[in-house]
């Protein structure tokens, strides 16, 4: 089924020029992202006009609005970008290397693992720097990934796409339970609940600057291996047949996933379903070649997260709904659709 789609998409590629269509799509997506960013900056507890936003970014005028924009909303916007890019690219990589449409950092337990690492960091080193917490987050995510890979290699997973998702859920549950127990035990529940709900309010510019290099590194690696990922998504036999190196690509892609989702969780908490939905949207729009899917997912991911965060802020003021809840409400129906499609079984 999947293979058929792929071959047809390749043939259609030959008919239209490669760059023409894709560049157009990318420009439209970037335009939407820009537009969304202005809306994002303008709405909130204090509504700020678009003109004001423009001025406070480009001219150095100082007033209440420009302070709000520069110290609160712009960092928040940037974090939204980062999260969107990280989770979406990580999701695309996972779906590519597992050849499983249901793979994503939240569903396969990577996010829960990262949260676990975070809890450990909070308990063991309450004064740790953000980079230190990110490191722990990586380690936690790595642990969860190791668990899922172990289960995936037990044979059963190859036959059933659903199985891997189930195993991931179980791993998530384990890490969540341990995290919960730890935070109750060491009395850091309050600090932790902020993360587990998945929220990006109150992020400072310094934090953004600390995570941004990871974004760059992660996305660059992802782009560099995107061609091989396309081959992987055709199935193991094809890759071997074409002389590809299965294990190396998988390992590199896996590490990139850890890098991206670990750092995103450290700064924003486990925001679910972005990594699941966005790659599907991207594939639907630009076809199945990961050279296009990965950059497009990055832009789409950013759009999805800024839209979700805007919704989270305006839906029941003065309260802010957790961002993770908004993405879950959109993501769950989509997940159900994937799980109940005929091919899923």
């Amino acid at each position: 089924m999947v293979r058929k789609e792929i071959s047809s998409s390749y043939t259609s590629d030959r008919n239209t020029s490669f760059f023409g269509k894709f560049t157009g799509q990318m420009i439209v997506a970037l335009l939407i992202l820009g537009l969304g960013s202005f809306v994002f900056l303008s709405v909130g507890a204090r509504s700020i006009s678009l003109e004001m936003i423009w001025n406070s970014i480009w001219s150095g005028s100082v007033n209440t609005d420009s302070i709000v924009i520069n110290t609160i909303r712009i960092p928040r916007l940037l974090v939204a970008f980062i999260c969107g890019i990280h989770f979406a690219v990580a999701g695309a990589l996972m779906q590519g290397i597992t050849n499983n449409p249901m793979a994503s950092p939240s569903i396969l337990g990577v996010n829960a693992g990262a949260s676990f690492g975070l809890a450990i960091a909070m308990i063991a080193f309450p004064m740790a720097s953000l980079n230190m917490t990110i490191l722990f987050s990586f380690l936690g995510a790595g642990l969860a990934t190791a668990c899922i890979l172990y289960l995936a290699n037990r044979g059963m997973a190859k036959g059933s796409k659903v199985y891997l998702a189930l195993a991931g859920t179980a791993i998530s549950a384990i890490f969540m339970a341990i995290t919960q127990a730890l935070v109750v035990f060491f009395d850091v529940a309050q600090d932790m609940s902020y993360w587990t709900a998945g929220g990006i309010g109150g992020v400072r510019m310094e934090q953004v600057l600390l995570v941004a290099p990871w974004t760059l590194i992660g996305v660059l690696i992802a782009l560099a291996i995107s061609k091989q990922i396309t081959l992987l998504s055709l199935g193991d036999e094809v890759v071997v047949g074409l002389g590809g190196k299965l294990t190396q690509i998988r390992l590199l892609a896996g590490l990139t996933v850890l890098l991206l989702s670990g750092s995103a969780v450290a700064i924003a908490g486990p925001i679910g379903f972005v990594g699941l939905i966005v790659p599907h949207m991207a594939r639907y729009m630009v076809g199945l070649s990961y050279e296009k899917v990965i950059p497009f997912s990055a832009v789409l991911g950013a759009i999805v997260v800024i839209v979700a965060d805007t919704v989270a802020r305006v839906v029941s003021p003065p309260f802010e709904v957790p961002l993770g809840a908004v993405t879950a409400l959109v993501g769950v129906p989509f997940f159900l659709y994937l799980a109940n499609r005929k091919e899923a079984n």
Partner: protein, 334 residues
């Protein structure tokens, strides 16, 4: 008969273990009593204060742990039978989430302290849990095709996630008091209930258990594939729905009193099957005893592990249950 003898041995062993655990559980708590004191107090020779502690605080808690553990385990066993799936359990099939959100909405709209209205919370929990389970079953059921176990579980997990999201959206707008009340309840705790709760819960669990035991032949047949079951004269849809209803009512009542305790309904039936096999005549009683024993032990552990503080029993159960779930998953074939 090999199996019959094994069942008798295990049943007796588990009963003894349960009795021992019951006494240990009674002896645990903030004020220290020796076992002699305990015997004296139970026999009616304690001071009024001592009696109050032992009967109204501790024994209520012990009895409830037994009821909830037994109820959850039992309904887990039924879910596993009618879906023919080792991974099914009340929490996986959305009963916990559904019951949780219903009780939360009830607390949300009710004036303060309303959770003490004994009858209302379970009723809401049953409706919510039932609806969630129904939605998940309906979604996974394809006409003319057998119920796919994996899809069912995935749908359950997804719907539960969705319900949790709705819950989070609502919870941020709650007052801190109500937030804490609900949050504690959601994670699962048996503390802070009265004999009235026992009066509501115990009959539901007992009636459910007896009814299910009486129909163990029917349950045995439902455990086979659909065509075989039809051949043996089972009215599949009707029986499934009936047993599902019983299981949902029992599980949701337990959740209403004890909060969202997951995994008991998954582990207990699984261990029971390994001990005495899949014949429901043996399997159901052992499941029930195991569930009671597991939750009672978990609750005791929660009290002593970080004494004088207390770990919510839901966390303890999840810590044991989640790895076990993974283990079951790892050895599941198809």
């Amino acid at each position: 008969m090999h199996q019959g003898r094994r069942f008798t041995l295990w049943a007796i062993g588990l009963l003894i273990a349960l009795a021992v655990m019951f006494v240990i559980h009674l002896g645990t708590g903030f004020s220290e009593f020796s076992y002699m004191d305990l015997v004296r107090i139970i026999a009616g020779y304690g001071t009024e204060w001592q009696e109050r502690i032992v009967f109204d605080f501790r024994m209520v808690r012990s009895v409830l742990a037994i009821c909830i553990g037994a109820g959850l385990a039992l309904s887990g066993a039924i879910f596993q039978t009618i879906t023919r799936n080792e991974l099914a359990s009340p929490s996986v099939l959305g009963v916990n989430a559904g019951a949780g959100v219903a009780v939360m909405l009830y607390i949300y709209f009710e004036p303060a302290n309303a959770i003490t209205t004994i009858w209302k919370a379970p009723l809401f929990a049953i409706i919510g849990g039932g609806l969630a389970a129904l939605i998940i079953f309906r979604m996974s059921y394809r006409k003319g095709r057998s119920l796919s176990p994996m899809t069912l579980i995935l749908n359950g997990i997804a719907v539960s996630t969705g319900i949790h999201a709705v819950q989070m959206v609502t919870m941020v707008t709650l007052s801190p008091d109500k937030f804490n009340q609900i949050n504690t309840w959601l994670i699962g705790t048996i503390f802070g209930n009265s004999w009235n709760h026992v009066m509501v819960l115990a009959p539901i669990v007992a009636i459910g258990a007896i009814a299910l035991y009486c129909y163990s032949t029917k349950l045995n047949v439902l455990n086979l594939n659909e065509e075989t079951a039809i051949g043996l004269g089972a009215r599949i849809t009707k029986e499934r729905v009936t047993f599902l209803c019983i299981a949902v009512v029992v599980a949701a009542s337990c959740v209403a009193v004890g909060g969202s305790i997951g995994f008991i309904g998954l582990i207990a039936p699984h261990i029971a099957r390994r001990l005495v096999g899949v014949n429901h005549r043996y399997y159901l009683p052992v499941t029930l005893l195991l569930g009671a024993l597991l939750l009672l032990s978990a609750d005791w552990l929660g009290q002593v592990i970080i004494a004088p503080d207390e770990m919510l029993v839901g966390i303890i159960v999840a810590l044991v249950g989640a790895p076990y779930f993974l283990y079951v998953l790892a050895r599941t074939r198809g």
